[in-house]
């Protein structure tokens, strides 16, 4: 697939990459969209229950996708090995999702349907996602809620005893199921408990505090992983018939993000370097409602659930540089700019639009708080309308969290919020079966690219993780395993030995640099660079600047990083260093992708491509495709493979939320 077909033209990135063969999803059946998943489930081959225990599957990551996949494959009777770098599978970062999970149950009878969820998601993704995948997601959403309720997930309920829902950005129906502001936690604990049940049953072998550092590919198939035991530093190999990566997103490339500190791209990036294509890396999501940065020591950003925009009103002072306390600014001197600019959706416009609007306000010097990097999110109207107890019941824990961090009481003073990196829509390329381009390597959850296009709607990440984990992967992995067990791979197979050696070498190299700068100082510099040039607004000039700087920063990192201690035991600096090393490489591909995509869509906003009133200007003629990048080799140009997107059911239009 790496034959060079044509040299890129100047506008496509000036020879920084080469264009390869187009790529296509060959797994989605060719039936009407509503029948595709049913048809695929029927055509997928089954494995005799008696044979399943002879087949082994590795699952990396224990978030919603990984935990659910491991538990479900275990229930089916496969021999599953599950891995997480945290000390317990219950701590995966899905746990931090606050707002809720979408499902087309139409319990409100407000016009919702599978088709509407499908439509909203394709539109919300700015017409850069694959229709087949999104439709399946909408169908499966119904089963997810049933499954989670049966597991004991304590969703919010009404006095009737029936499930409560709320509305979320980018939609006009109320389809978001929630468990106060801790929906991710409750869903993850459901998956974790299902996983623990399988561990008890002996179908799943759990490896906590174990980090995947490479993928083992034998005869073109993914057959195992190289791991480091974080407790004692041992480099180990684990072999299996198939490997599933559910290792999350790469938002921490920006250093400051709402991701957990340990969230990283290493598993996905290692798979990429072993041949898996990486799709749309520049599609990153900036969440509009996060707590602003308070100082240079800042180690992460905290999100305030988007659900707050249901009742909170976003505003800035009309007067530039108005530094009066918010409660001293009279009503007619406030600009409720989202309500003004987008009367139909108001404060509930999708995330990318809300984020950019906040940035524009701050760029125009209407921002509030330190450095003018913040806007107000005001609950005084809601408190007056609903009463404090009702607001407390809905958002109490979020308000408390805000107060703990900032010292301000949001019941009295409007919150200050600012956008922050939150989610990455890009990820490893997968087909309808969630197969990567390496046979036997499947990718689920945020680690793949498939369902959200260029922008993810709120409450859709939990839906996708659980859809992939509980319902899609168990079906499609079984279809693949129908050909298993494959020929046994001995521990001393040259490809296994090579992967282990490469891992050891990388660790030794990191430890032997013994330079002058800490891992965090490099990570901060990389993060600032990517945020400035490949964040909320991107330009050709800025991206080129970043592309010139990243290789030299990477070189400095390997030469000058300082890690104390050895690789033979518990060493958190070494863990961090390995992750940052991979971010250093990913960052370059992100900027490359952003530079090549000469249009604005969803979370990717190129300043050169905007409408007169500052909205994103898509170019469907030239860019209605998935950019799937192939690793070209060390210091070689990457190869771009395009998957053309087909919109037969939702006609692409300029998104309008006005």
């Amino acid at each position: 697939m790496s034959e060079l077909q044509q040299e890129p033209t100047a506008t496509q990135g000036e020879g920084r990459y080469v264009v390869g063969d187009p790529i296509a999803d060959t797994r989605a059946p060719d039936s009407p969209i509503g029948d595709r998943w049913a048809d695929r489930k029927f055509s997928a081959r089954l494995v005799n229950p008696a044979n399943r225990r002879k087949m082994s599957v590795i699952v990396v990551g224990t978030g919603l996708a990984g935990g659910a996949a491991a538990a479900t494959l275990g229930e089916a009777g496969y021999h599953v090995k599950s891995f997480c770098f945290q000390d317990s599978p219950r701590r995966a970062h899905s746990i931090a999702a606050q707002g809720g999970i979408n499902a087309a149950k139409n319990y409100r009878y407000d016009g919702d349907s599978v088709h509407r969820l499908f439509y909203d998601t394709v539109k919300g993704g700015d017409f850069r996602s694959r229709e087949s995948n999104v439709h399946r997601l909408a169908e499966v959403s119904l089963n997810i809620i049933d499954q989670c309720v049966a597991q004991g997930v304590p969703f919010a309920r009404e006095y009737s005893g029936l499930l409560d829902t709320r509305s979320f950005g980018g939609t006009q129906v109320s389809r978001t199921f929630y468990a106060r502001g801790q929906t991710g936690q409750q869903l993850l604990l459901g998956a974790y408990q299902a996983l623990e049940r399988q561990i008890a049953a002996g179908t799943v072998e759990m490896h906590p505090r174990t980090e995947m550092l490479d993928l083992i590919v034998v005869d073109g198939k993914a057959r195992g992983i190289v791991t480091r035991n974080l407790f004692n530093g041992q480099i180990e190999t684990h072999l299996a018939d198939a490997v599933i990566l559910c290792s999350g997103g790469y938002g921490n490339v920006y250093y400051l993000s709402t991701n957990a500190k340990g969230s990283n791209v290493t598993a996905a990036w290692r798979a990429h370097k072993r041949g898996a294509l990486f799709a749309n890396p520049c599609y990153t999501q900036i969440h509009p409602t996060c707590i602003p940065v308070s100082g240079e020591y800042q180690s992460k950003l905290t999100l305030m659930s988007e659900s707050l925009r249901n009742d909170g009103r976003v505003w800035v002072p009309k007067e530039r540089g108005d530094d009066r306390p918010p409660n001293d600014i009279p009503e007619d001197e406030r600009d409720y700019y989202l309500e003004r600019q987008y009367p139909a959706f108001g404060n509930l416009v999708p995330r990318d639009i809300a984020s950019r609007a906040a940035k524009n306000m701050c760029d125009a010097e209407h921002g509030v708080g330190p450095g003018g990097l913040g806007v107000y999110l005001d609950f005084s109207d809601a408190i007056e309308r609903l009463g404090r107890p009702a607001v407390e019941a809905k958002y109490g824990n979020l308000f408390e969290m805000y107060q703990r961090i900032t010292g301000d009481d949001p019941y009295e003073v409007p919150m200050r919020i600012y956008p922050a990196i939150h989610y990455t829509m890009g990820g490893l390329w997968v087909d309808y079966d969630l197969r990567s381009t390496i046979p036997g390597l499947f990718v689920g959850g945020e680690a793949n690219f498939s369902d959200h296009g260029a922008n993810r709607l709120g409450a859709s990440a939990l839906m996708q993780g659980l859809s992939d984990g509980y319902f899609v992967l168990p079906t499609t992995v079984a279809d693949y395993l129908a050909d298993a067990p494959f020929e046994a791979v001995p521990d001393d197979h040259p490809d296994v030995v090579e992967a282990v050696e490469a891992t050891r070498e990388r660790i030794d190299k990191l430890l032997s640099a013994n330079g002058h700068r800490t891992v965090d100082s490099f990570h901060r510099e990389l993060g600032q660079l990517v945020w400035d040039q490949c964040g909320m607004a991107r330009s050709k000039e800025g991206l080129e600047k970043a592309l010139d700087r990243i290789p030299s920063l990477r070189e400095e990192f390997w030469r000058d990083v300082k890690i104390v201690g050895t690789g033979d035991g518990f060493n958190q600096s070494l863990e961090k260093a390995g992750r940052v090393a991979d971010f250093m490489e990913l960052a370059e591909l992100m900027c490359m992708d952003a530079l090549h995509r000469e249009e604005s869509c969803g979370g990717h906003f190129r300043v050169e491509h905007q409408t007169e009133d500052g909205e994103a200007q898509r170019d469907d003629e030239n860019f209605s495709y998935v950019a799937a990048w192939e690793y070209g080799g060390d210091n070689q140009r990457p190869v771009l493979h395009k998957e053309d997107l087909d919109f037969s059911y939702v006609h692409p239009s300029q998104r309008s939320y006005k």
Partner: protein, 251 residues
Amino acid sequence: MKLTLRIWRQASPDAKGKMKKYVLDDVEPDMSFLEMLDVLNEKLVLDDEDPVSFDHDCREGICGSCAMVINGTAHGPQKNTTTCQLHMRHFADGDTIDIEPWRAKAFPVIKDLVTDRSAFDEIIKAGGYISVNTGSAPEAHAIPVDKVSADDAFDAATCIGCGACVAACPNGSSMLFTSAKVTHLGLLPQGQPERATRAINMLAKQDELDFGGCTNVGACHEVCPKGIPLASIAQLNHDVLGATLAGARSD
């Protein structure tokens, strides 16, 4: 702010640990406690000293990774707050702060402030779930759940599994943790079929591990960052007693 830190340093599980003193003189009140330790660690690395190991991940108070005894109190002075959400504005210039790992037999120290809390996973594994296979669930609205039960179940379900309850308990008991799960699942109609065996099996597993017994001290609830109600323990005892009288036995 200038602070003196006295931190437990222990190189490995078998090594002998000791408190070591560090002085930091550029601490900002808006820093989180862990950011303050990040600053210390940056200095230590540049001085060629081993940085302080501590578990942390989400830094939003929900993953349950962070775990430190601060001035003798698990998670420090602020109620209902994990270490990662504790901010330095709660300390004063010139303070001396003692920082130790969880102290409990069931949570052996791995390194410095990092402990092994896998015993909690063992307790959940013993029955902290509802046995429902994927795809076999009835329609979500088939069984209504009254709002009071749903809300109470939620309150118990918010446990983050950090282990502060065990660290604070003079007996090193995990009763609050175990009872939170038993209460969460036992209050829901979906959890009824396994309610008796769940309570008995989880309690039996907890006793088998290195946790101590509960003597109703209540320190667990005082330090719990999620405020898990003490009534959960009464609920667990109630379920275990009922199950025992009904003749249920642990597996």
